[in-house]
Amino acid sequence: MINIVLGLLLRTAVVLTGTAVATFTLLWLAPGDPALAVAMARYDSIVSTEIIDLVRAEAGFDAGFWPAFRAWVFPLLSGDFGRSAVTGRPVLPDLLSAIAYTVPLALAGLAIGLLISLPLAIIATRNPGGLLDRFAVAIASLGTAIPAYWLGLLLILLFAVKLAWLPAMGTRTPLHILLPALTLGLGVAASLTRIIRSGILEARTQSFLPAFKRRGVIDSTIGKDHIAPHAAIPVITVLGLELAFLLEGAVMVEVIFSRPGLGSFLVNAVEARDFPQVQAVVIVAALLFVTINLLIDLIYRVIDPRIGESNA
């Protein structure tokens, strides 16, 4: 077990290092003079060459690729994300407050997704190929094809403009989270329904189930103890992918609903060419993502003893 954990941690470290190098290289090679962009963003007017040179020296752009990379990475290891190139404020507090908006949204979206997809999939698989089942599959196919930004706009149109039941823009009251969470949740529900449904159907084909049945084990026990664990494995894999979907969805949804979360933070940072902020978001997103996948890998091994130690 220790070997597996160490192997997974090593893999995580390699991936994170790769991410850091790739991000930094991209920003380094980006067209245009980054110092000019920073100076323009900071002073909001035409600036003299002395100021540009000053900014360049201050940001370490004049030192060459590797010194600049080291100057960025080593503070990063101790949690210092540097200062915003535009406002000059430390990146970390702003980033944390953005995360504080995104995490509840993502969790609410995930909860809505599970609340819809679990019952729907269980009801649908009662009678595979039946009317309800085909309805669930059709809804799920439609749901995966609808882009989050369009769904969000439609929900705003329906609930905020036509019916005026729910608030749409901003984050003033707790109610403001409902529409964005619903937008995210419906998308999650669509893909989860498909996976849970096929997971249950697949688990039903296990050859030992008829044996339990003939021995007189009641259906609910078979379902709980023998079908559910098997169906859970693909679902857990997909939950990891759902996280990616949630982060992606959050980017779009936050922009549509003007929520000051990680997505808006990213889009604003990219638009302002505020590279320290962009780097921070990318690293945090990668860290989040890799950690979740690491946890999922570990959970796998706990719930599915068949996954051998050799797979590490």
Partner: protein
């Protein structure tokens, strides 16, 4: 199945000949008739600059579907190449390729695409680059996975013993065996590329105005959502129908292949 194929072909035909069917110039500005409701002259109405929405949708199909096709094919080539290198190249190559793939998979595609497209400067070139960079990993994983199972097949071992080079084994034994699974991945990635293009367009990092791309159209329509909600419905509906048709075609393809495998 047949209806799905018909629908998919219909979209492809529309993307190719769409501009011929367009009743108006998609960039012709007509301020007196801005934001007009659907009617005889403008079948789906006009946008904020008085441009005909139907014509813009038809021209936009070329951007959305054409670019998505290009991006998914580039991804297919890159991913297959890397996957084959991983499967055939020995342990070190395999480790390197798979860790690179893991790194690229370590962030959500859209986040990476926004960063790449935004940093390189908004435009069609950066859009294509961004979506290609974030869209080849699935092909690579599938190509490697199937490739590894081929390694122990009799005919591959025979070919090796007969002195065939790794390159020709890859060309004549691996590629044909990989094609069905890659085709299924490709349909999925094609649909994702359509969504990606319109998402970046919607965020303002994609195809730039006045080019009529569906996501960009949505971005413009959003401003007038309250007064003319219909204007926002059309481009979204176009995206949904395309993606749905392609996804269903992909599902049908996968089922057909599974059936064939079972029969053999």
């Amino acid at each position: 199945m047949r209806s799905v194929i018909t629908l998919t072909i219909l979209f492809i035909v529309l993307a190719v000949v769409g501009p011929l069917l367009a009743p108006h110039d998609p960039t012709a500005i007509n301020i007196p008739h801005r934001l007009s409701a659907p009617g005889d002259e403008w079948l789906l109405g006009t946008d904020a600059l008085g441009r005909d929405i139907l014509s813009r949708l038809l021209y936009g199909a070329r951007w959305s579907l054409g670019l998505a096709f290009l991006i998914s094919v580039i991804g297919l080539c890159i991913g297959t190449l890397f996957g084959l290198i991983a499967a055939l190249g020995g342990k070190t190559a395999d480790w390197l390729v798979m860790r690179t793939t893991d790194t690229f998979l370590a962030f959500p595609e859209l986040v990476a695409a926004v960063v790449i497209a935004g940093v390189l400067g908004a435009g069609t070139g950066s859009l294509i680059f961004a979506l290609c960079v974030t869209g080849w990993m699935r092909y690579c994983r599938v190509a490697r996975g199937v490739g590894l199972t081929l390694k122990t097949r009799g005919y591959v071992i025979q070919a090796k013993l007969a002195g065939m080079s790794a390159l020709s084994i890859a060309r004549w034994h691996y590629l044909p065996a990989l094609l069905p699974s890659l085709a299924v991945v490709w349909t999925g990635m094609f649909a994702r590329a359509i969504l990606g293009i319109s998402a970046l367009g919607f965020l303002g990092f994609g195809v730039q105005p006045p080019m009529p791309e569906w996501g960009t159209m949505l971005l413009e329509a959003r401003l007038h959502m309250r007064s003319t909600p219909l204007q926002m419905i059309w481009p979204g509906l176009a995206v949904v129908m395309c993606v749905l048709a392609i996804n269903l075609a992909g599902d049908a393809l996968r089922d057909a292949l599974a059936k064939e495998n079972n029969a053999v």
